[in-house]
């Protein structure tokens, strides 16, 4: 595999080593990229991992969107590069305007860490290319602000344009239309609240996340061969 994956680290990010480790376990080559970096040249995919970027102060993602690396992420996305935001990374992508909608506090107003069922709703994204529509994955969730919301017009567009990527089978946080993940119009930018990197090792109870991250590596690898770094 020749693909190189950038895993962006903001101050307060905490899932970066988990993502790098899970990708490495699948044969991928992932590197940590500090939030002050202004270029993502040479990378074939970008992951914004979970955590509490800039302490989640003000609002999750509200400060991170101003980190220098986010301009590079936007350029990378505009050029069609695969970008995946996991949990806090999803929140950052919505705050940065790279994905529609917002993530508000969970219904019930409590942090939720558990394992839940996630249905794959489209295979047009780099994360779900190896799945089939209707596949149900068991993935960990771990968030306080995971309650996806958007206005009615946006929801209608997301449905019409096949941009709802994942739905919860047993909605744990009040998300509209059970949404656990969405993508941009082109399908190359994906945000999801569940943590696929936490489900890549049988010792930890589920390997359902490996199919998603494996798909991302496959797409990145194709890209690395097509576009010389």
């Amino acid at each position: 595999m020749t693909a190189r994956v950038a895993v962006v680290v903001f101050p307060g990010t905490n899932c970066e080593h988990d993502v790098v480790g899970a990708l490495a376990g699948l044969g991928g080559d992932a590197e940590l990229v500090w939030h002050g970096q202004r270029s993502l040249a040479g990378y074939d995919a970008v992951v914004l991992p979970g955590g509490f970027a800039h302490g989640d102060y003000l609002r999750p993602g509200a400060i991170a969107r101003f980190s220098p690396v986010m301009e590079a992420v936007a350029r990378f996305a505009a050029a069609g590069g695969p970008v995946v935001g996991i949990c806090n990374g999803f929140q950052v992508l919505t705050e940065a305007g790279l994905l529609p909608g917002a993530l508000q506090k969970n219904a019930g107003l409590r942090f939720v860490c558990t394992t839940t069922g996630i249905e794959v709703c489209t295979t047009r994204t780099p994360l779900t290319a190896h799945s089939a529509v209707g596949d149900v994955l068991r993935l960990p969730i771990n968030h306080f602000e995971g309650n996806y919301t958007c206005d009615g017009a946006t929801l209608a567009r997301l449905r019409a344009e096949d941009r709802i990527v994942f739905r919860y089978t047993d909605n744990p946080n009040g998300s509209v239309d059970d949404i656990a993940g969405v993508c941009n119009e082109q399908g190359n930018v994906v945000g999801l609240m569940p943590h696929p990197e936490r489900a890549c090792d049988p010792l930890l109870g589920s390997t359902d996340g490996a199919v998603l991250l494996g798909s991302l590596l496959g797409v990145a690898d194709t890209r690395s061969r097509a576009v010389p770094a």
């Binding site: 988990d18 955590g51 394992t115 839940t116 771990n142 936490r198 010792l203 930890l204």
Partner: protein
Amino acid sequence: MEGTTETGEPLHRALGLTDDEAVAIERILGRPPNQLELAMYAVMWSEHCSYKSSRVHLRRLPTTGPEVLVGPGENAGVVDVGDGIAVAIRIESHNHPSAVEPYQGAATGVGGILRDIFTMGARPIALMDPLFFGPLDDARTRWLVEGVVSGISGYGNAVGVPTVGGQLTFAPCYARNPLVNVLCLGVMPVERLVLGRASGEGNLAILLGATTGRDGIGGVSVLASAGFEDTEAGTDKRPSVQVGDPFEEKRLIEACLELLDRGLVVGIQDLGGAGLSCATSETAARAGMGMDVDVRAVPLRQPGMAPFEVMTSESQERMLAIVTPANRHAVEEVCRRWEVRATVVGTVTAPGPSGGRLRVLDGPEGPVLADVPAASLSEDAPLYRRPMAPPSDAAARRAQDPAALPAPDDCGPDVLAMVQDTSWVWRQYDHQLFLNTVVGPGADAAVLRLAAPGLPPSRRGLALSTDANPRWCAVDPRRGTAWTVAESAVNVACAGARPVVLVNCLNFGNPEHPEVMWQLSEAVDGMAEACEALGIPVVGGNVSLYNESNGRDIDPTPVVAVLGVIEELRRRPPVPGLVPGHAVVVLGDTTDALAGSRWAVERHGQRGGELPPFDGPAIARLLRLLVTLVGEDDLLSGVHDVSEGGLGVALAECAVASATGARLRGVVGHGALFSEVPGRVVVCTGRPGSVLDAAAAAGVPAAVLGEAGGERLVVEGLVDLPVADLIAAWRSALPAALDEPLPAGESG
């Protein structure tokens, strides 16, 4: 010189020092102390910092062993777990702050214990929180539970360290004085171990992290070393609670670990209780050196702070690094990248003929505001042999006989009343971060992979359990504590781990009450007996006294945590559960002793009787057997330690976990069903013959109780319940008491 307060009280008393202690300080200095010096002694000689009432007893604990790298007295205990990896472990209390301000009290408890661990050079990888509250039918208790759990969740999740287990106990004695203990475990390559020493004359003391504010002044003396008198639990003491900032702590962890990784510091020490006074005097004293501290250099959060406030503030998220002048700029560069403030506030000085001096200066060459022997703040603290006496009702309570309580016609309702799903608490904690959590909260022990960035590869695993049984310890603190140690060791053995070391947090009442000192002394003796019998050294501890409200002491609550090592973590170890068609076997001595059991205390209000004597050899045999059985592939399909609620609750929890019933016989009566004496384990197996043979070879009694399967849990003559009813009771117990909705998703 020392002055008085507005009410005319001598200043030393207002600061929490006795008249005798004030005289001792004057003798050490050879002159009366000034106000700053008095304030520094007051925090350092507080019960919380000096262990002045408990030190004389703690010396009786066994603290050495071949795997122990650092024993009690440092920031954390450190143990060699093999493969070039060391584990740092510590447990602490944050009881009083949590009673006053539950969110910040619990949050800063997490922050403080994390700093104790990364101070040693270890990356924190797991937290655990044993919690004790009053009954939930009280609105204030529900507020405390809500606040404490939110505080742990809010701080622990954001700082990025998973909370992998704990304990939840409700009893009336904690109603106004909840106990919030917090344990942290960290890992490091053995060679990175660092100690908090300020060696090398001319080296710089660099303060890292947050600014210093007025929060937490007198936390250790005003708050932690006195009980609560008014019924609203000391709301006037709220300003003595610190305020936490997990984002600052996260950056501090990463910056400090990088500094240690690159060998840029000589020594490092966290600022916890007693703040700068403690960190500067302890690092200097440990190295036999002195230190000059420029109080004006300390970055402040608010203007106009007096030197005594700067020196005793317990503002969170601060560390003191001792750095050679040559490395100063490299240290500042690392800190700049992590956005961590780094300020030179002092210099290590050579000792004089009478040892090193801690001097507080007003400006680099400014006037000397305080000048005391550095070691006197910690090492010369008073040592009390407080009077001890058994409680006056001890004999009368021992004479009670729980066996005489009326036997229930049907034990089902008792079982239903005692099952409880604790996931309402731990679903609020990130318990999965770092991809190490093989078995998380809710089982007998948490099981972790032994892995972290920068560690050598290892196939070993760790098992960790925190345990306490205040009901047993109220009946008999010595035997109760010994059995608590056994309980914790059996829990880690149920995960296939060999118990290696223990840390403890001794939560007791007012040490000025002779019966409390007697309880403490007895508990220490019980712990020493069990640890010696089982070969488990004590590598660290914390003592929390003055847990009382309105003059009533809590039940003695020694919390222990046993760390075990799994030689090879090839697969997920068995957890509580039943597999249809498999045999249900109970290992260990049959007992029907009910003293201190939940059945006797909670269901019948009887707090007396006599605990059986501790049987170390029997527990040691059981531990060895469990490690063998769990280590054999596919032999056990379920395993569960018998503890609170006895065999009845253990069987019910197995049934609930796998939504499978069982038909069992041979449990002779309600005593055998509800006895909690440690040393019994329920296993489910497809090969009962192999289990019985192994048990016989190990000298452990074992009996097949019956077979798993079906939709009812039946214990012949005692219990006959639909599993669905058990699941419903188990799931709803805590949410119903808290008036919370049942959670969605998986909780097991």
